[in-house]
């Protein structure tokens, strides 16, 4: 029985794109235990939203994630529209869905590149990211922005698409579809790449359901669940698409699901552009005050189901916004799937859920107050402590 070594990975480690801490117990190269710890990236966005009106919240929520920014705003506006009882015009819904699918496209392409990089396949990484630029350019054409599109507004979208733009984007899709199909071929056939991902990071269907795995991670374990089909929103009721699932239950399955979703998304984008209805893009008059009540909105983000829960109290500001990002649902399962694998598999196994730690991060801080001998410090005490500290140490008086 070899000695068990504790191998910490993170919060700073080359395989992590964002800070998170993983602790592994290893025997030789084999992993016998895995734990994770979050909380390095908490920004208090939910709290910030309570201080702002619904329109300002949109811009805050857009910044939850740098990749699925549109997902969070869409989930939020859908909940708000439910509270307001708004009927969004068809064209607005289509445009919103168009950006959704483009976002899924660029997110999955980004993931494929990252996954390739995690196993040292930098050529695929560079080439995929080069062609991801096409999607970014399309998004820029539509919204004027590359990352935070700011296209959603309560009751519709903010920018319309002209006929020339529509034609231009359709033309840009052609090479994109051809290239993504080529990368799909590489990602599922290249022997050294497939050798690294097949049979690694296993997560059985039963365990995936128990752990509430969502999105491509769940679908790769055979969990046939897609909010776009199961609880349709936006323009999805009118659109035809396949939900990709796989029974591989390993990283290979996750690559399969994602690369075919890329191809499927390309087709969806074309379908949307070809069937774009005429009409308004947004509801003309929207009340600033949102009636009291609570609404929940589900959304199939590129990484899985994104849930926003919004409670209004009749004022301009939401009383509470709760975000459940898809990584939250998948992270535990991913950490568990690493046990039994080798150290070499850690990066790709963790990356296989397409983690986004900053979306997920929540903190609960229990301060140990030595002076009062209590576990918890009240907000008023903490505030007073801050004022005292600054007065004493910095000479600043409030």
């Amino acid at each position: 029985m070899p000695e068990t070594i504790h191998l910490p990975m993170g919060p700073q480690h080359p395989f992590l794109k964002e800070p998170a801490k993983f602790d592994f117990d290893i025997q030789g190269e084999e992993i016998v235990g895995a734990r994770m710890q979050m909380g390095y990236n908490h920004r208090g966005i939910e709290k910030l939203c309570e201080d702002r009106n619904y329109y300002q919240c949109l811009f805050i929520l857009e910044r939850i994630c740098g990749i699925c920014s549109h997902s969070h705003t869409t989930a939020f506006v859908q909940a708000t529209e439910k509270l307001l009882g708004l009927e969004v015009p068809k064209r607005g819904l289509y445009l919103r869905t168009l950006v959704c699918e483009l976002e899924r496209l660029h997110s999955h392409l980004l993931w494929l590149g990252v996954a390739a990089h995690e196993v040292g396949f930098d050529t695929l990484f560079m080439l995929v990211w080069r062609d991801r630029e096409i999607v970014m350019e399309i998004l820029e054409e539509i919204s004027g922005n590359r990352v935070n599109y700011a296209i959603n507004t309560i009751g519709g979208v903010r920018r319309d698409l002209t006929e020339e733009q529509r034609k231009k984007i359709l033309a840009m899709l052609e090479p994109l579809l051809a290239r993504t199909e080529y990368y799909a071929g590489i990602g599922t056939n290249e022997p050294s790449f497939v050798g690294r991902i097949r049979g690694v990071g296993r997560m059985s269907k039963e365990r995936a359901i128990e752990k509430c795995a969502v999105g491509p991670f769940g679908r790769a374990s055979g969990v046939d669940m897609d909010i776009r089909r199961d609880d349709p929103y936006g323009a999805y009721p009118d659109l035809e698409f396949k939900v990709i699932t796989s029974d591989e239950c390993d990283i290979y399955g996750r690559v399969l699901v994602r690369v075919f979703e890329i191809v499927e998304s390309c087709k969806l984008v074309r379908q949307i552009l070809e069937n774009l209805p005429e009409g308004e893009i947004a509801v003309k008059k929207v009340m600033r005050r949102v009636p009291a009540g609570a609404a929940i909105s589900r959304y199939e983000a590129p990484r899985g189901e994104d849930v926003h829960w919004v409670r209004g109290n009749g004022t301009e500001k939401p009383e509470r916004v709760k975000v459940r990002a898809p990584t939250m649902a998948n992270l535990e399962a991913a950490t568990e799937s690493v046990v039994g694998a080798l150290v070499a598999d850690i990066p790709i196994a963790i990356a296989s859920i397409d983690p986004c730690f900053s979306c997920t991060d929540r903190t609960t801080v229990a301060l140990n107050d030595r002076r009062r001998g209590r576990r918890l410090t009240t907000w008023a005490e903490l505030r007073q402590h801050g004022i005292d500290w600054y007065r004493k140490n910095k000479g600043i008086s409030f």
Binding site: F15, E29, G120, D122, E190, F193, G195, R196, V343, P347
Partner: protein, 348 residues
Amino acid sequence: MNALKVALYILVYPGFLFQSGFSTFLEWLDRKVYARMQNRRGPMYTGWAGILQPIADIVKLLSKEDIVPAAADQRAFAFMPILSLAAVFTAGLYLPVWHLRSFNSFEGDLIVVLYLLTIPSFALFLAGWFSVSPYSLLGATRVLTQLFAYEVPFFMAVLTPAVLAGSWQISKIAIFPWTVAGHWWVIPIELIAFVVAILALQAKLERVPFDIPEAETEVVGGPLTEYSGKKLAIFRLQKDILMYVGAALVACVFLGGFGALPQGGDQASIGVLGLVFGGYLGGVAGLLLGVVGLLLKTTLVVFLLSTLRAACARIRIDQIVRFSWRYLAPWSVAQFLIVLLLKAKGAV
């Protein structure tokens, strides 16, 4: 006079200066080729098309702060980079890049070079071991595991041309295809061994797909995680020179070294100048062309290594062990048998 000559050999050509210069050129080439295959531009700004970038990198590292972990074995930690650099430099001196009989050439220098080329791996292992960090330890054990995977196939592959030429001297193996008229066809015969040697060399250099010991996303920098500043610069230079020496060795034993055109006659009487482009050019021009020929062949080998690096994902440590014992070793044995059979038939 003789002492001066030897000093020149060691310090200038084919020693320190030449090896450092040419190996950084090879690193630049490798980076450029790799970048072009990824639709990037590679180094651009230092010198023509960034050709001085590797030197700039090393100079920059030399000027950086040198940190030694408190828990590390201070002396061993500092000694390992020097040991590995010295080993590859010495190995480089035995390569016949200049003279048919390089100034210290002797019967059996092939074994010495192979031995010297193994030292960097051990130095790297010890460097990781003495660093006392979990990543370094993991990387160090991986270095050693990988060594057991590629070393035997590499030796077997290099053995083939030696048996073919009936000599353990690199220069004799190098000129063997050119000594007898129409003898150049021994080069294609060794194709399997050449492929094995290229793959094993890639593993020796720890580059994708065999960069397992220093897999960035897994073990940060592997054995070199704790190294910084001057010591890291020396390791970097050592890696470049190892690439040059390894590639030049492969070029010498498999691709006919500095010879280029098939031509007959006894090697001893031909000598260096006649050997190269022999009756066609002769003189200093022939010598220079011979040197250029060898360097071009070395560059070709590096080009192959770069292509391999661009085309693959990193494999796992268990996969490389399985790969080399299931494929590389049997291939080299098969090649060895083919050569023995040819020799027995008297064809060679």
